[in-house]
């Protein structure tokens, strides 16, 4: 899921100075309320899942964020 379009838009949504890769850190100061909402929207648009704001805030790297999305997709994919 190294969707480059998603990563580019993620960099824009977070006002990230420069390109984003899976190793890019997401420090606590990045997660203001507008950033959280922007990224929730971005994830919904690209992957059709909604992630809780609290879980998002705990992501310290882009890799952790991608893992969270995959986990949520699995949860959504399970028959209820």
């Amino acid at each position: 899921m190294s969707n480059q379009a998603f990563l580019d838009e993620l960099a824009e949504a977070l006002d990230y100075g420069g390109a984003i890769t899976a190793d890019s850190p997401l420090g606590e100061d990045i997660w203001n309320s507008m950033a959280i909402v922007s990224v929730i929207g971005l994830i919904d648009e690209h992957f059709d899942v909604t992630v809780p704001g609290e879980a998002l805030q705990k992501c310290a790297t882009v890799g952790a964020l991608i893992a969270l999305i995959e986990q949520q997709r699995k949860l959504d994919g399970e028959p209820s």
Binding site: G41, D44, V51, G53
Partner: protein, 342 residues
């Protein structure tokens, strides 16, 4: 005589005089420029009620404007529906005070209902019920909020979004073979109540020194339990899940597709959220009303305000088949159809 069909015949709106601009917000908070605030929220200016100005005052002004337009007169009102979450008093009912102040007949029914961003759509659906069941000929629906009174001056996230204002809408009965107002779909999920709330000040948790204690959240917003709290990310998640399903349910109930709808007026929460909802619901941009820049999020009055503005701008006109969608605090949501007849 055939059963009358309810139809919306007029809308008038009112904003209090005071303004809160992006420049003022940028000066107060420092970390975001005015351009950035506009880019993120789509809002240019908000209205703020004065210290002596309550929901009934804003509603009164909107209703006077409606009467001055000539579409109706106070003596014509059979029923007043007043929607607010910031009433003048716990009791009496604001609608009763407005009956007297507006000079409505003593034979009129009047009630308040407590809903936020879904309130306008619910109000129209109740007006339809009153008219089409023969209980009222004419219904005056007033939506009015002064959320600013709940918001802490240092809560940037809420102050940037919300605005005070009111709208008065005239619903009457007419002979028609076609449904001119409705159908409607509804939704409720009280699990989300804690995500948009004024925790203290009513009877569950009365005001006290403890509820007035200020706290700073991780984004630097300051508020006490006496103030409005909004969990923006969770509200956004709720709208992402609920709104496009409501749209789908409504077009199915009409036996139509979204292509048959001429224009969509969603609750004007903020531009970011609306752009996202539009893409998710697969509605073309030219059919989807976003004009939140002029008045901010006035809660239950954004839909009539946005519709009035869109009509003035020529984006939509008489005869159009319009979908309206309200969603927010509660959680509560509703969507409905209305044929523009004014």
């Amino acid at each position: 005589m055939p059963q009358p069909k309810a139809v919306v015949k007029g809308i008038a709106t009112h904003l209090p005089e005071r303004r809160l601009t992006n420049e003022q917000l940028a000066t107060e908070y420092g970390d975001w420029t005015a351009e950035k605030i506009e880019q993120k929220t789509g809002i240019v200016v908000r209205a703020v009620a004065g210290p002596e100005e309550c929901a009934s005052d804003l509603g009164y002004a909107a209703a006077q404007r409606l009467f001055e337009s000539g579409v109706c007169a106070p003596a014509d009102v059979d029923f007043l529906l007043f929607c607010t979450q910031s009433p003048d008093y716990f009791l009496p009912t604001t609608a009763c005070l407005l009956q007297d102040r507006l000079g409505l007949p003593r034979g009129a029914g009047a009630l308040d209902f407590n809903l936020g961003c879904s309130g306008f759509v619910y109000g129209l659906s109740m007006a339809k019920g009153l008219i089409e069941s023969g209980q009222a000929k004419n219904v005056l629906l007033i939506t009015s909020e002064t959320y600013s009174k709940y918001i802490h001056p240092k809560d940037r996230s809420a102050r940037t979004i919300f605005s005070d204002g009111a709208a008065a809408t005239w619903i009457t009965g007419c002979d028609s073979n076609e449904e001119l107002l409705g159908p409607f779909v509804y939704g409720t999920d009280g699990r989300g109540g804690c995500n948009l709330i004024v925790p203290a000040g009513a009877l569950r948790t009365p005001h006290s020194p403890a509820t007035a204690r200020e706290e700073t959240d991780e984004s630097g917003n300051v508020r006490a339990k006496d103030n409005l709290y909004m969990n923006g990310p969770e509200i956004f998640n709720f709208t992402l899940e609920a709104v496009h399903l409501a749209v789908r349910e409504l077009v199915a109930k009409c036996g139509r597709t979204i292509a048959d709808v001429d224009y969509v007026v969603p609750h004007q929460a903020n531009r970011f959220m609306l752009d996202h909802l539009r893409r998710k619901s697969k509605i073309p941009a030219e059919k989807f009303c976003v004009n939140v820049e002029h008045f901010g999020n006035t809660v239950s009055s954004t839909i009539p305000m946005a519709l009035e503005r869109a009509m003035q701008d020529g984006a939509v006109g008489k005869g159009a088949n319009v979908m309206i969608i309200g969603f927010g605090v509660g959680y509560s949501w509703s969507a409905g159809m209305m044929r523009l007849a004014f």
